[in-house]
């Protein structure tokens, strides 16, 4: 084998896993609706489409109701756009990595990505057909953060309970109605409870028409964020 061909062969062998990985599960598109109850007992409804591209590291929410609006979440900033102009922006870190879309595409939703975080598994137990696992933050952060409980059933995440450092529940999420699309298990219904100042508020997120690895719509998957 000539030296040049040999180099090409070794390059391909080394890059093969990268090529294979890149070909599978890199995009999610779905119709979504979020129905929420406010603390004052009024409601909010949001509807639209969501696009996520693992390679571009962007989540794009194209909202149709209450008013047409676009939200783009990047690695470091959340942008709200109206008529393609920036309406607001806010710094944020870790939203892409911990988003349900990214976790699902990577097959990490079953432990909510905690396996790859600074949290450590403190214990597991079976109860009522649920595998309940307790995750604890690193010792140096235990004065700031509390434990997290996960419940799994049939290898799918069913629920997550997040505590603060004083063992008070901050949030509960329930992942229901899993659909298997192109080999990806995705919860089509998520119920979330939050407890700001002791008052329970909740929201229900529903996904429909889920598409995995859609071809086309590149401009939306990599939604251009205008300069100020």
């Amino acid at each position: 084998m000539k030296l040049q061909n040999r180099r090409l062969f070794f390059f391909c062998m080394i890059m093969l896993p990268v090529f294979l990985n890149g070909q599978h599960y890199f995009r999610v598109e779905a119709d979504f609706s979020i129905k929420a109850k406010n603390p004052d007992s009024s409601f909010q409804l949001y509807m639209g489409k969501v696009f996520f591209d693992k390679v571009q590291k962007k989540i794009c929410y194209k909202i149709s109701f209450p008013e047409p609006e676009v939200w783009v979440i990047t690695d470091t900033v959340i942008y709200s756009l109206k008529n393609d102009s920036i309406k607001s922006k806010k710094p944020a870190i870790g939203l892409i990595e911990t988003s349900i879309f990214n976790l699902s595409l990577h097959g990490n939703l079953k432990n909510y990505g905690l396996e790859n975080s600074t949290y450590t598994l403190a214990g597991t137990k079976m109860e009522d057909g649920l595998m309940i696992s307790t995750w604890e933050p690193p010792e140096k952060f235990q004065k700031l953060m509390g434990k997290i409980l996960l419940a799994n059933k049939n290898r799918n995440l069913q629920g997550i309970v997040i505590f603060n450092k004083d063992e008070r529940i901050l949030s509960k999420q329930f992942f229901n109605e899993y659909a298997n699309v192109e080999g990806i298990d995705f919860p089509m219904n998520i119920v979330q409870f939050n407890y700001p100042e002791g008052v329970e508020i909740f929201q229900v997120t529903t996904f429909k028409n889920l598409k995995i690895d859609e071809k086309g719509n590149d401009d939306t998957y990599n939604y251009p964020v205008p300069l100020d």
Binding site: F43, F65, P66, E67, S80, V161
Partner: protein, 145 residues
């Protein structure tokens, strides 16, 4: 007598451990029917909007839609509802504390919010003071050794 106490203690500890287990399982249940009932009107509105694509909240208010009266968007924006809050919440103070002047600059440029920038500034000051103390102590320890 001693045997009776041991058995009672064992029973109590068994009861306590069972109760702990039950508490954890209870955390993963909720009243689905209650949620469904509470959101029934909003679900009707959702069905209507799916059939009438492009209808906005303003359109509903103009047409004096009854269910639209139950909606309120004054308190918070979409961000609070799309699970977009950072999971571990990195406040502006920590940006300044961990990344110093650069973190402060990030907060200033991105948020364009004076209050948030001030929090980052205090974080930056606290971080600088802490590192100064650590440096001073380490230097003193090295000199005395």
């Amino acid at each position: 007598m001693r045997m009776k106490i041991i058995i009672n203690l064992l029973l109590v500890s068994l009861l306590i451990s069972t109760t702990c287990f039950a508490n954890d399982a209870d955390l993963f249940s909720y009243d689905e029917q209650k949620i469904e009932n509470e959101l029934s009107e909003i679900s009707q509105l959702e069905a209507f909007l799916l059939q009438n694509n492009g209808t906005t909240y303003s359109d509903l208010l103009m047409s004096e839609n009854e269910i639209a009266g139950a909606l309120s968007y004054s308190n918070s924006g979409f961000m609070n509802f799309a699970m977009l809050e950072p999971p571990l919440g990195i406040p502006s103070f920590l940006w300044g504390f961990c990344f110093g002047a650069v973190g402060m600059l990030v907060v200033y440029v991105v948020s364009e919010d004076r209050d948030e920038t001030m929090k980052a500034l205090w974080g930056c000051v606290a971080g600088t003071v802490l590192w100064g103390v650590i440096y001073f102590v380490a230097f003193a320890a090295a000199s005395s050794a």
